[in-house]
Symmetry: C2
Subunit: 200 residues, 2 copies
């Protein structure tokens, strides 16, 4: 999606699986297999039409129209995410920030209203959001996620450093920044050793 958006901006009409491979680090076969899984999108001997592929992937991802996202946690990480302007792209919209700190509730971060966590149910209902970003401390993350799931959230991007339990129809993706850095420390110490794949 990212590569297609870029190519479209640069007015490229056609792109091959090999080119997409170069821009993403995947092999061309992998690109073709993954796209073919959802249908035949390309033209043999030619490649893929940038605009039409972009439209079809967007539709597969469910990124048509405006997709509402709820952000829970208005601390330093939460507000950075709210300000992170790449998240303010046409199809994803952080519609509300929920926090439990009365001093923050009522204010605005990056133009987004901060409301109290206790209004979660209302906010989910009003917005029909199915997607949430969790940026709360680890010790309240499970509780937060349980509440989100109860009110209808189906997918969660979690920045709290804990493994979350959810029903099998709710998808959680945890991004633990400290763990990421710690695992990179392993490679940083092993100087001189050369291994084939480097993008971890």
């Amino acid at each position: 999606m990212r590569v297609l958006d870029q190519l479209q901006k640069e007015d490229h009409k056609i792109v091959s699986s090999a080119e997409m491979g170069r821009w993403t680090g995947f092999s061309s076969e992998q690109i073709r297999k993954d796209l073919a899984y959802f249908g035949a999108f390309g033209t043999r001997g030619v490649g893929y039409d940038v605009k039409s592929l972009q439209r079809r992937i967007r539709s597969i991802l469910g990124l048509e129209g405006s997709v509402p996202v709820i952000l829970v946690g208005g601390g330093s990480l939460g507000s950075a995410l709210a300000r992170y302007n790449r998240l303010h792209q046409p199809h994803l919209e952080i519609i509300c920030i929920l926090d439990n700190d009365e001093d923050v509730v009522g204010t605005t971060i990056a133009g987004i209203k901060v409301r109290h966590v206790r209004e979660m149910q209302e906010v989910v209902r009003e917005s029909q959001a199915r997607l949430a970003v969790v940026a709360v401390p680890g010790d309240v993350a499970q509780k937060t996620v349980d509440a989100l799931v109860k009110h209808g959230i189906r997918s969660i991007l979690n920045f709290a450093p804990v493994h979350l339990q959810t029903p099998s129809d709710v998808v959680v993706k945890t991004v633990d920044l400290t763990s990421q850095l710690q695992s990179l420390a392993y490679y940083a110490q092993r100087l001189g050793e050369r291994t084939p794949g480097q993008q971890v």
Copy 2:
């Protein structure tokens, strides 16, 4: 590591692979296989000694003493990362922030000095850092990484939304927040379907 630190804080002496599995979402076999790869750390019939396992993993990861980390990019994401206190844990230390904005250079973010990117070589040499975090705009990320590698950085945590080219002995881990959310949108739209694994 995260789980072991927690268990140690709670004064647990012994932990089994099954318990670690519950805390991380991995199967107990997976935990045992992964640990066994580095040696026999447990005691049959008993489990793993929390403190000694913690020490051994810390040593394997190269997290003994203080590991210096350079952060490039003092924008909203960069400074949020600097302020993110879980990264200020005993063994990882962000020793410097590099930026190209003269207005930010010379200031301090979360107690960390901001210096100009042109001082990169000096900063790497002084600190002997091998680890860097890249939080710069996508269009300058490759250039930034090339410079970091040239000056001796071996592992990079990249938040720029681009695939980076590096020599095979340099490890890059890219965290593209927008892509993460976009892929979660896919699962959010598929209501009602139940699939076995949910932690993506």
